[in-house]
Amino acid sequence: MLILNCPYCGESADETELAPGGEAHLRREGPESQDEAFESYLFHRSNPKGVHFERWRHAFGCGKWFIAARCTATLEVFGTYAAQTSCPPQEIVDKISERRPDRRGASGS
C-alpha cells in the first residue's frame, strides 16, 4: 500500500487516491514512424527489477499527473516530480546515484 507525495498539491497521497499510468518518459511515435519503433512505443516496456520511472495520477485529489522514481523490488521512492518533462530532473538523478551507486545509467531508461 504505497504512499506517494504529490508534487502539485504537496499531499501525501495514499495509493487508493492514485491511478497508475505505466512507464514514464515514453517517446510518442507518430504516423512517420517505422513499424519497429511504433511497436516499441506501444508495447515494449523496460519492466526493471530496480529503479523505475512511472506515471501516477492523483485521481482522488488534485487530478494532476506526476512521475515517481521508485524501486520495484524494495519499493523505495527516490522522489516524485511533475510530469511535464521528458527526463527525470537532476536532483532525482543525483538522489538515485547516491542511494544506488552500483546502478548504471540513472536516466529514464
Binding site: M1, L2, I3, D14, A19, G21, R28, E29, G30, P31, S33, D35, F38, L42, R55, R57, A59, G63, K64, W65, T74, L75, E76, V77, A83, Q84, R99
Partner: protein
C-alpha cells in the same frame, strides 16, 4: 482434574459470576474469565477433536496460539465457527459448542480414523482416491466433503446483525504489544514527544510479566513487576499524544509504514446490532514489534492427549484465573522458565508430581530452588509414553538420550511442557524483515540489520523485547526502552534525556534443544509424537516428507499440512523445521522458515468490509430524475454505477411489451428519455480545436459555433473507444459528449495528453457531467411539445439538424441540441441539474395529449439499431476500428495525425479480409441470438469450425415487425444479399441475409424534419 482454586486470579472478578453453556451443559464462571479458563475451572479439558484423525483434544495454550480449543459460538444469525476459547472473553449467557465430532465430544464416530492412522499418513490423499475414476464424483468426493472440515458454516440465510467500521490513523510510532517491552517503548517514545499508538491484542496490559514474575523474585526499579506496569500505564495516560488500546491486534505490516490493526470492540459484550470490530488502517513512521515470544511444545509420544499443556499457559491459568490445570501435574522442560510453573503451583497448594528436565548440563539456580522446595527433579529425563485415553493419567519416564526404555511410571493428571521459546517474528517478517538463527537460545530471531525498509529506504520496523530474542525481564526492559528512544529519535523527536529503567537479573542455565523426545526414538514412538495438534501432523510425517523428496520447507509444509491450520503453525512451525532439518542432515538455519503472511491471527470478513455492506456496498449514482423513475416502477439496468431505466412496464406488461410500446409511441408521436448520465466535458482555450483534432478521428477545429458534429475517439493502439457529439459553443470553447460509461475515463484521457504530452498547449477542461440534467424529447411531435413550453424559436430553420441554441425554455435556462440517436425528429435539452425534474414534468404536461411517455435504455438501443447506428460496447469490443464499421467518413482524410492514426496504418488494420459491419435479417423474421457466429466451411488450425462473422447487436423491431441485427462479417459490405448460417446454443441454426444496417428511414427524412 483441572479446578478453580479458592483464591487468586488477577483477572477474574469473583463478585460477578456468569453462567454459560458448553455442549448444552450449563456451567459457571466469572467476569474476566476467558471461555477456556472457565472450561478448565469446570474440569472441561476435552474441548474438541482433531481435524484428520478425530483424536481427543484439550486446551494447550492460553492465548491466540491455541490450536485445539475451537468452538462454535452462539446460534442463528450470530453463529460463528472456529472461535478460540482462549481468546473469547466470557459473558453471561454465552453459548458454545465443540466441533468436529459426532454424535458427541466423548463418543465421536470419527475417531475410527485414528485407528487407520497408519494408512492415513501425511499426503495420503495424493496417493489414494485415484481409481476407479468413476468413483470420484459419486463416492470419494461426497465422502470427503462430509468428513472434512472443522467447524460448520453458518446457515446461508443467516444475516450478521452486527456492525463493523474502519478507522484511518497517522502516527509517528506504532508499538504492537502491551507487554513489558512494548510499554517501555511507549514510555520512551512518548516522553521524547512522538505521537504514539500502543496496541495490545488481549484485554489487559503487561503481557507475560505479571504472571511470570508474580513470585516476586524480580522487579523493575525496585518495584514489583505488576505495580511497575500500572505506574507506566498511568504515566502514559497523562500524555495527550500517546494512545493506548487493548483488544487491538496488529494484524499485518505492509509497505510504506502501512499497518492493519484489528480491534475487537464488542466481542466481549453480549447482544447484537452493536459495533463489533473496527479495522484500523494506520500509517506510521516506525513500528516497534514488541510481540513477545511463543512457547514451544515438546514432541514426545502421546503429547497430544488432553491434559498436556504449555507450561506458560499453566502459569497463566493459575495466576490470571485462579485455575489449576490438574491436581497432580508434572512439569516437563528443557529450559529454566518452566520451573516457575512448578513453584507457583506448589505455592497454591497443588501437589506437583515431578519436574522432568531433559537437560544434562550444569543445573542452575532454579534447580537449586526446586530442591529446596522439596520438589523432585529428574535430570536428563524424557517421557516415552502417556497413560490415559481421553485425559492424562500418568507418564512413563525414560532417558532423553535413549530410545525410550521405560525407567519408571509416574502418575499425574496433567503435563506442563516447555520446549523453549520462539520470538513472535510474524509482523517483523511481513514486509521483508529477515531472520537469523540464535544458536544459544535455539530460536529464530529478527536479524536487526535486515529490517523491512520504508519509502525512504530506511529500516522502519524495530523488534523489541522477547520478540527480538531479548527474553529475560532485564533484557526486555532495556531493549524496549532503547527501541522507543531510537524510533522517536529517527523521526526527529529527542525530548529531554531519559533515565533507563533497571530490572533485576537472574542467572539462567542454558536451554538444551530437544526436538524429539527421546532423542533416539524409533518410528513407533515418532508416530505418536505430534507437531501440529490441529492438523494431526506427527514427527514421522515430516520425516516421510523428507524421504519422499519434499526438502524445501515450503514443500514439506504443504505436503504434510504442518502449520496450515487456523493457528497458522504458531506452536508447530519451529519444531517442524527442526525435524525436517534433522531428517535432511542440515542445520536449522539452512532450512529456514516458511513465509509469514498477514493476518497474524484470523480477522473477520465483517471488519474487512467495514461499513460498506448492503446499501453502502456500491456508490450507486442517481440522476436528478431518479426519484421519478422509481415512483413509476421503472425496471432498471446497471450502466457502470448508474441505474438507468430499461423500460417502464405498465400494469402487468412484460418487459418486451413495454419496450415495444415505448418504441412505437416515440416513433409515432413523442417520447422522453433521461440522458443525464452521458458525459459532458467542456474544452476551452486557444488550442482547444487543436487538442480535439488529435483526440478525435474527425476535424473538430472546423466546426462552427452553433453546430454539432459526431466524433469518434480511438486509443493509440487504433481501436475505437468512445463516441459522442461535440458542440462548438464559441471560438475557443467546445462541449464534448461521451458515452455514459466513458465520462470520467475520457476526461482523464484528455488531461493525460494535455499534462504529459502537449503541456505547452493552452487548453483547460472541466467535467460538467453532473452539472446538467439532459432530457431527450424524441418523435414527430417533439418540436411541438418544445414550442408549447415557450420562450425559444425552434423552427426548422432556426434550429436545423446538428445545430444547437440556448435560451429560456419555460423560464428555465436551457441549451438545446438538435441531435438524433433514433432517427426521429429529436432534441436533447440540457438544464442545471437542480431544474431537471421541473423540466421533465413540464414536458410530461405539455405532451399529454400526444400520449407523451418516457422510454428506457432498451427502446433507445432498438431504435438506434433500426437506424444502423453503432454502440460502443456492442459493435466495439476493443479490437474494432472505425473502418470496420463503415465510419470512414468520420475520419478526416487531410489530418496528418490523430491518436490511433499510426496504429490504423498497420498491415492487419488495412487487411481487406477484416470483418466489417453489415445488417442481418433472418430469413424467417426471428431474432438472431446476440454473439452468435456465422460459420464458414472447414476447420481452423486447432480443429474448430471456421467462422466468417458474428452478431454484435440483435433485437426484435416492433417498428418493422421482425428481428433485426447488426454484425461484423468477412468482407461484409461486398456481399450484400448473401445468406449465412448462425448456429445457436439451442441446437437451432439461424439463416440470415446480409443487408444494409440502416433498416428504417434510410433517406434520413425523419430526423431532418
Amino acid at each position: 482434574m483441572s479446578t478453580r482454586l479458592k483464591s487468586g486470579g488477577r483477572r477474574i472478578d469473583r463478585s460477578r459470576p456468569v453462567t454459560f453453556s458448553f455442549d448444552g451443559a450449563r456451567l459457571r464462571g466469572y467476569r474476566g474469565d476467558t471461555l477456556a479458563s472457565a472450561l478448565l475451572a469446570n474440569d472441561r479439558m476435552l474441548v474438541g477433536r482433531s481435524f484428520k484423525y478425530h483424536r481427543p483434544r484439550g486446551i494447550v495454550a492460553s492465548g491466540s496460539e491455541e490450536p485445539n480449543a475451537l468452538v462454535g459460538l452462539e446460534e442463528g444469525d450470530l453463529f460463528e465457527p472456529n472461535q478460540r476459547a482462549t481468546t473469547t472473553e466470557l459473558y453471561d449467557g454465552l453459548t458454545a459448542r465443540s466441533q468436529n465430532r459426532w454424535p458427541s465430544l466423548s463418543m465421536d464416530f470419527g475417531a475410527v480414523t485414528s485407528r487407520l492412522s497408519r494408512v492415513l499418513p501425511a499426503g495420503f490423499y495424493y496417493k489414494t482416491f485415484l481409481r476407479p475414476r468413476s468413483f470420484w464424483k459419486h463416492v470419494y468426493e461426497p465422502l470427503i466433503r462430509r468428513s472434512a472440515g472443522l467447524g460448520y458454516a453458518p446457515n446461508p440465510e443467516a444475516r450478521d446483525p452486527d456492525r463493523y467500521e474502519h478507522f484511518y490513523l497517522h502516527v509517528d510510532v506504532l508499538i504492537v504489544g502491551g507487554g513489558i517491552a512494548g510499554i517501555q517503548s511507549a514510555l520512551a517514545a512518548g516522553r521524547a514527544g512522538a505521537r504514539v499508538l500502543l496496541i495490545e491484542q488481549s484485554a489487559h496490559w503487561g503481557g507475560r510479566s505479571p504472571a511470570d514474575h508474580s513470585g516476586g523474585k524480580q522487579s523493575v526499579n525496585n518495584i514489583p513487576v505488576d505495580k511497575y506496569v500500572d505506574e507506566c500505564l498511568a504515566e502514559l495516560g497523562t500524555m495527550p499524544h500517546v494512545q493506548c488500546r487493548t483488544r487491538t491486534m496488529g494484524a499485518g505490516v505492509y509497505d510504506h509504514g502501512y499497518v492493519l490493526a484489528y480491534e475487537r470492540v464488542g466481542d466481549h459484550l453480549p447482544g447484537e446490532g452493536a459495533l463489533r470490530h473496527r479495522l484500523w488502517k494506520i500509517r506510521t513512521g516506525r513500528i516497534i514489534t514488541a510481540t513477545g515470544a511463543i512457547e514451544r511444545p515438546i514432541a514426545f509420544p502421546g503429547n497430544d492427549l488432553p491434559g498436556v499443556m504449555l507450561a506458560s499457559a499453566a502459569r497463566d491459568y493459575l495466576i490470571d484465573f485462579g485455575v489449576s490445570m490438574g491436581k497432580h501435574p508434572l512439569v516437563l522442560a528443557n529450559n529454566d522458565s518452566a520451573y516457575e510453573t512448578a513453584f507457583l503451583l506448589q505455592d497454591q497448594g497443588v501437589d506437583v508430581a515431578a519436574i522432568v528436565d531433559a537437560r544434562t548440563g550444569d543445573a542452575g539456580g532454579v534447580a537449586q530452588e526446586a530442591v529446596e522446595r522439596g520438589l523432585r527433579v529428574i535430570r536428563g529425563g524424557g517421557v516415552s509414553s502417556v497413560k490415559g485415553r481421553r485425559r492424562v493419567e500418568g507418564v512413563t519416564i525414560c532417558d532423553q538420550r535413549g530410545a525410550g526404555t521405560a525407567l519408571e511410571e509416574i502418575s499425574c493428571d496433567a503435563i506442563a511442557m516447555s520446549g523453549g521459546w520462539s520470538p513472535a517474528v510474524h509482523l517483523w517478517s511481513h514486509s521483508g524483515g529477515k531472520l537469523t538463527w540464535d544458536a544459544r537460545q535455539f530460536c529464530f530471531r529478527p536479524d536487526v540489520d535486515n529490517s523491512a525498509r520504508g519509502a525512504d529506504g530506511a529500516p522502519y520496523v524495530i523488534a523489541a523485547g522477547a520478540a527480538s530474542g531479548e527474553m529475560t525481564l532485564a533484557a526486555a526492559v532495556k531493549d524496549g526502552h532503547a527501541a522507543g528512544l531510537r524510533a522517536a529519535a529517527e523521526l526527529g523527536y529527542n525530548g529531554a534525556a531519559q533515565s533507563e529503567p533497571v530490572a533485576t537479573r537472574v542467572e539462567e542455565a542454558a536451554i538444551e534443544p530437544v526436538w524429539i523426545m527421546p532423542s533416539q526414538a524409533p518410528v513407533t514412538l515418532r508416530e505418536k509424537a505430534f507437531l501440529d495438534f490441529q492438523n494431526d501432523v506427527k514427527v514421522s510425517d515430516v520425516e516421510l516428507a523428507a524421504r519422499e523428496g519434499f526438502e524445501s520447507v515450503e514443500h514439506a509444509k504443504r505436503y504434510t499440512t504442518l502449520g496450515m491450520a487456523t493457528d497458522q503453525g504458531k506452536l508447530s512451525n519451529i519444531n517442524g523445521i527442526a525435524i525436517l532439518s534433522d531428517a535432511l542432515g542440515r542445520p536449522i538455519p539452512q532450512t529456514g522458515t516458511t513465509t509469514f503472511r498477514p493476518p497474524y491471527t484470523p480477522i473477520s470478513f465483517g471488519s474487512i468490509a467495514g461499513s460498506q455492506t448492503g446499501p453502502r456496498f456500491l456508490p450507486i449514482r442517481r440522476t436528478p430524475i431518479q426519484d421519478w423513475h422509481e415512483e413509476q416502477g421503472a425496471y432498471f439496468e446497471p450502466v457502470g454505477h448508474w441505474r438507468r431505466p430499461y423500460c417502464y412496464p405498465r400494469g402487468d406488461e412484460s418487459h418486451s411489451d413495454a419496450v415495444a410500446r415505448e418504441i412505437l409511441q416515440t416513433r409515432n408521436h413523442v417520447g422522453l428519455l433521461d440522458a443525464s448520465t452521458l458525459g459532458k466535458i467542456v474544452v476551452k482555450g486557444p488550442d482547444a480545436g487543436r487538442l480535439l483534432d488529435m483526440l478525435y478521428t474527425g476535424r473538430m477545429s472546423t466546426l462552427k459555433p452553433g453546430r454539432c458534429r459526431y466524433g469518434l475517439m480511438c486509443s493509440e493502439n487504433g481501436f475505437l473507444m468512445d463516441d459522442g457529439v461535440v458542440a462548438r459553443l464559441d471560438e475557443e470553447t467546445f462541449l464534448c459528449h461521451t458515452t455514459t460509461g466513458g465520462a470520467d475515463h475520457i476526461h482523464a484521457h484528455m488531461e493525460d495528453w494535455l499534462q504529459t504530452e502537449w503541456w505547452d498547449w493552452k487548453v483547460y477542461t472541466a467535467n460538467l457531467t453532473e452539472q446538467f440534467a439532459q432530457i431527450a424529447v424524441v418523435g414527430p411531435k417533439s418540436r411541438e411539445v418544445l414550442e408549447r413550453l415557450g420562450g425559444m424559436n425552434l423552427g426548422r430553420d432556426a434550429l436545423p439538424f446538428m445545430g444547437w441554441c440556448e435560451g429560456m425554455l419555460a423560464g428555465i435556462s436551457a441549451r438545446i441540441f438538435r441531435i438524433s440517436f433514433s432517427g426521429e425528429l429529436s432534441y436533447e435539452i440540457a438544464v442545471a441539474a437542480d431544474q431537471g425534474i421541473e423540466l421533465w414534468e413540464k414536458f410530461l404536461a405539455a405532451g399529454q395529449d400526444f400520449g407523451i411517455s418516457p422510454y428506457g435504455t432498451e427502446a433507445l438501443h432498438v431504435m438506434r439499431a433500426e437506424k444502423g447506428f453503432i454502440m460502443i460496447g456492442d459493435e466495439t469490443d476493443g479490437t474494432v476500428i472505425p473502418q470496420d464499421l463503415g465510419l470512414d467518413w468520420a475520419i478526416a482524410k487531410g489530418k496528418d495525425d490523430y491518436i490511433g492514426k499510426r496504429a490504423q496504418m498497420r498491415s492487419h488494420m488495412i487487411d481487406p479480409d477484416r470483418w466489417k459491419l453489415v445488417g442481418l435479417e433472418t430469413v424467417d423474421g426471428s431474432v438472431l441470438p446476440e454473439g452468435a457466429y456465422a460459420v464458414a466451411s472447414g476447420k481452423t488450425s486447432i480443429g474448430q469450425r471456421a467462422t466468417q462473422g458474428r452478431v454484435t447487436s440483435s433485437y426484435h423491431s416492433p417498428t418493422l415487425g421482425r428481428g433485426i441485427a447488426m454484425g461484423l462479417v468477412l468482407r461484409g459490405p461486398e456481399r450484400m444479399g448473401d445468406e449465412l448460417e448462425f448456429p445457436g446454443t439451442d441446437g437451432q441454426v439461424y439463416k440470415a441475409r446480409l443487408v444494409s444496417p440502416v433498416f428504417y428511414n434510410p433517406e434520413g427524412t425523419k430526423q431532418d424534419a
